[in-house]
Symmetry: C2
Subunit: 436 residues, 2 copies
């Protein structure tokens, strides 16, 4: 039997690891007989040599079975989730899950917290007074079955091998490896006990994948490997060259997601929600095609079923459901300060990374995973891509815990807006689709 | 200032690390703020992306200055050492150092122990009753100045950064990287306080470098980087497609090296010693050219000055100098058992790896660094490359601690000899030379 170092060398030299090898490596890392320094050397070798689909499936399933897999077998009906690779202002999950559930597809959702410039669904949900994301698995299953959707945090028992390896990748320069990203995403999502998955692969300055080519490569790998692991999977490539919607923070993003369920919301956020939701309804068998899926979602917005499902979910998870009808009851920042345009023109660029990091500086996000977030603070955009602006018009509003904080961020927020004499080409939100 | 993970990513992406970066990385690893898992990821990135000469010089000097540099400034005269990349039966240092010292060039030698199929100079020396290799640096300097040569083991204070990193490379599949090998060799050798260095880069089945191309690549890198670090460096590429000399073990190898100093010894060992010694005399300024260097060495063998220098070195290091005149006083194996040819023909191949591992199994070497060696045991070759053999003639003699041990290895030793009907092409020992 090969030693661990022989397996590292095999991958280093471009060889293919067998399923049994991958199981052994994961087991050895789990029981401590493979120290982190050997795992990080292997991860770097994988970074350079890649993994084929069979290896990536074996890695995904090995990580998946390192922990508990939620059993939703008691619920008859399709269970479909959505995963986003993360962007600035991406609050889609908050409106999407109740809307899809209202259309008859169960949405069990295990989400993450924000880190760096991208926010996290759990932090946004916790802006709702009383809302709890740390439910037991039994309670999670009960709420999914009764309400149609439930959103909780990753427990220590879901894909623990991924959690430890992700922390290691983060500090060893091995995050940006497509097979490792695929196995990390899919192992966590398949642990939810879902039948199908829609992926929102974000592309651009505010996203993890900076180019359409690289994003498409990731999307294709996710669809291929997810399909080989026995799930129905499709992926959309969506633009993250600017902020999604008009809010960055927690309470303000939650309010904007609620607005979508009530028939409002910015057009790009509505479009993203409908496009992903239609995929979920088709995968879940609740719509024959994307057009009828989209029509069903629009009806669930129009007649308030989406908003009602959100209220029931909030209530089931201990929160105050009245925020759906009264979003002003969400926590408000004590200081709101406008950032004004210094010249007239058109909004030809919005830097999502700069704005995301500004929100983190205000306290809406984290630079280390042990930090607390302030749900009240963030940045609201007053203008969108291509909008004309006059000199002195508000570009954004900073929601801060103090006027000193607001002043400190003002220049940085202003710099995130590029104002030009001519309007930019129209923005394309949906860039591509990968799937059957 | 870049974080450690940013420096890892820089190298991963093919960037060049600056001298200050390399100093920071070494310091961080030394003080524990860079854990082994980050260093191993960096080492794997270096494996794939390489390092240019400036980076390799910076790494060498950083590692060199991680510990003590021996100060031989009190000795007037050139100090020159030889380093071999390791082979089976390579006892050249034992006869080379006294011989070169006898010709007027100081040879301060810090050596290693055997690991795996290659033996170590220290283990061979310790076959001499009483011989001590763990001398203090002061005593080492005194003996070099008085006798002309002294051979000790690496102390904990010489290039400790290399010691720790080598252990890490060994278990993470990052040994076979030319810049890492170069920095490891040169940092240890430059710590001896030498002016010049001759490298014996072994090529073939019994060596670390299996092909002449790869060996030449290593030799060129060693010469370039050593020169940039301010030393005079030349390298010879020598054949390790078979055993060097006729002995593998410890006491038997020491006896064979003594034989060379007394005017005997197998032709390949004599040739290797003279070729490397001539380079050392030229680099040390004691010979005008290689031919006169070789003639000087032959005179020092002929008139016994080499043997006398060996006696003085042994005496200075606490050993019994009478072994030079009476090699039979070296420890003898209780069991000596012949391995006979099963067919007639010519010796067309000798597998140095198989024989080296056989000697390890007999107890002459180590598979783990904490093991003790038995100085008495090993394998003596009775025939050499191209020799005719008759059926029933002895191919080798196994020196074992028991007849059971000898029997157990008999078939493996026999398999190491390839007997063919026709003689093989003559062996070329000196394959190439790199240097000014």
């Amino acid at each position: 039997m090969e030693s661990l170092v022989e397996l590292i060398a095999k991958k280093r030299d471009g060889g293919q690891l067998e399923e049994a090898h991958i199981r052994r490596l994961l087991a050895a890392h789990a029981d401590g007989s493979m120290p982190d320094y050997q795992m990080s050397a292997l991860l770097m070798a994988i970074y350079f040599q890649g993994m084929n689909d069979a290896e990536t499936v074996a890695l995904t399933e090995g990580m998946l079975h390192s922990g508990d897999v939620i059993d939703l077998g008691a619920i008859t009906g399709a269970k479909v989730d959505k995963h986003s690779t993360g962007g600035v202002g991406d609050k889609v999950s908050l409106c999407l899950a109740p809307l899809v559930a209202a259309c008859g597809v169960y949405v069990p959702m295990v989400s993450g917290r924000g880190l760096g410039h991208t926010g996290g669904t759990l932090d946004k949900l916790e802006a709702i007074p009383g809302f709890r994301v740390d439910l037991e698995v039994d309670r999670f299953c009960e709420i999914v079955g009764r309400v149609g959707t439930c959103m909780i945090g990753q427990t220590a028992r879901i894909a623990p091998a991924d959690k430890r390896r992700y922390a290691l990748r983060d500090v060893t320069g091995t995050v940006e490896s497509i097979p490792l990203i695929v196995a990390s995403i899919l192992s966590k999502k398949l642990a939810e006990g879902i039948d199908a998955l829609v992926l929102d692969v974000k592309v651009g300055r505010g996203a993890f994948m900076k180019t359409p080519e690289r994003a498409r490569e990731l999307a294709e790998a996710l669809v291929r490997v997810g399909t080989r692991a026995g799930k129905r999977v499709t992926a959309l490539l969506t633009d993250m060259g600017t902020v999604l919607g008009r809010t960055i923070g927690n309470a303000n993003e939650t309010a904007e997601a609620i607005d979508v369920l009530r028939g409002g919301g910015p057009p790009d956020l509505v479009e993203c929600t409908l496009a992903l939701g239609a995929e979920m309804l088709v995968l879940g068998g609740a719509a024959a095609d994307l057009a009828s899926g989209r029509a069903a979602l629009e009806r669930a917005i129009g007649d308030g079923r989406g908003a009602r499902t959100m209220e029931r979910m909030i209530e089931a998870q201990g929160g105050d459901p009245s925020v759906v009808e009264h979003p002003e009851r969400l926590p408000q920042a004590p200081e709101v300060s406008a950032v004004l345009a210094e010249e007239a023109g058109f909004v030809a660029g919005i830097d999502p990374l700069g704005l995301g990091l500004s929100a983190v500086q205000l306290g809406a996000g984290r630079t280390r995973s042990d930090q607390q977030v302030d749900h009240r603070v963030g940045v609201d955009l007053e203008v969108g891509w291509g909008d004309p602006v006059r000199e002195g018009e508000a570009l954004a509003r900073i929601r801060a815990k103090s006027s000193a904080d607001a002043r400190a961020l003002s220049a940085r927020v202003r710099r995130a807006f590029e104002i030009r004499a001519d309007p930019p080409p129209p923005r394309r939100l949906l860039l591509d689709r990968v799937g059957v």
